[in-house]
Symmetry: C2
Subunit: 196 residues, 2 copies
DNA sequence: TAAAAATAATAGACAGTGTTCAATTTCCAC
DNA sequence: GTGGAAATTGAACACTGTCTATTATTTTTA
């Protein structure tokens, strides 16, 4: 068969990412298959390679979708909220990871070869999430410490990530940790309470 | 061919783990191949399955080896050290991860199916490392807070892990973080300085 | 010592995977 | 209509993990 032209390249790209993301949510990175995605949307494997060029770019696009959803979820949970917004952000971080555990894990299971840089728009999606956290950290910090917001946001992101990761990968279960979220929140408040 | 009897099962197991670990260090989890390991030690793929039963158990054994080395490295760096031993432990944590980056990453890249528990001796190896950290946290804590040592050690492990992970997976490079180790150490000292 | 049992090791078959690419069909503009 | 551009295919390739019947060697037993 040849050109069906049911879809423009852009439309098809969207269809593949949508189905790819669905697959990633269902089976996880280890069992993800580009062939399976092709089969499900009624295209052949060759088409996926025509559109994305490589497996790595396909995964990057799917992970990019996950980042978009994550950012949107963070923003929606924070929208118009008062009180302890930073706690809310940490809650939302955990919630998203738990609900979309496979897709979330794929963000970290997948690594590009060392000599290949991530796509530009992927970087932008990562920094978009970090900007949200930085904004909230700046809000929570006394004015005298506003300058710390950026590095502190990065560090707290890593801190919360560590707790979230150990929750989902089973490490905390092995160690008998019952309330990882509270532990993460304690580390956050420790950093905010820091006397400089 | 049949029985060559060059090695007992136990010896062969050791040979496979050693070569497997070497491969893991070199190519990383994504490109690891049980067949390649078999080829390198001059055995056929079937033998590996006879010895380990499955791919998952092979990887668990290799990761177990990594945990052993990690524990030994931690202990050797701490042995007889005075001063800020907790800082030393965090340094050693990072150092090991950086030097053995592929093998270290494999500890987290690999996850057993949800319904299958890790081998008993793997759990013991994990807890052995946590015991070391717990001991050092207890030492660093004022006596009145000794009871906190266990949960705090878990939380600080997650904290340091997050920083280490973001360092090695490139997230911190994207975000412009230049000194992740110092950031991790700050979070640790924040937690120790906590007023309860 | 001869037969039986246990152990060690093999290699091929199977069903998957990512990747490539020449061939094919369809659409659109002229 | 016709030519060229765009879209799509599917077979071929070199891998992967997994399973299992078969074979060769040792060790044990009788």
């Amino acid at each position: 068969m040849g050109r069906r032209s049911d879809h423009s390249r852009a439309e098809l790209r969207e269809i593949i990412i949508a189905e790819g993301h669905r697959q990633m949510e269902n089976v996880g990175f280890a069992h993800f298959s580009a062939r399976e995605v092709a089969k499900r949307i009624g295209y052949s494997i060759g088409t996926i390679y025509n559109v994305f060029g490589s497996y790595d770019e396909l995964i990057s696009a799917i992970n990019g979708r996950t980042l978009d959803l994550w950012r949107d979820y963070l923003e929606s949970r924070l929208e118009g909220a008062g009180g302890d917004r930073l706690k809310l952000a940490v809650d939302a971080y955990f919630e998203f990871a738990v609900v979309h555990r496979h897709a979330w894990a794929a963000l970290y299971d997948f690594r590009l070869p060392d000599d290949i840089a991530p796509p530009e728009d992927y970087l932008e999606k990562v920094t978009a999430i970090v900007r949200i956290v930085t904004r909230e950290v700046a809000r929570a910090l006394p004015e005298a410490r506003t300058a710390e917001a950026e590095p502190l946001a990065r560090s707290l992101l890593a801190t919360v990530h560590g707790h979230c990761f150990f929750t989902l990968n089973g490490t905390f279960r092995i160690l008998g940790e019952r309330d990882p979220l509270s532990a993460a929140l304690e580390r956050v408040s420790d950093a905010l309470a820091r006397r400089t």
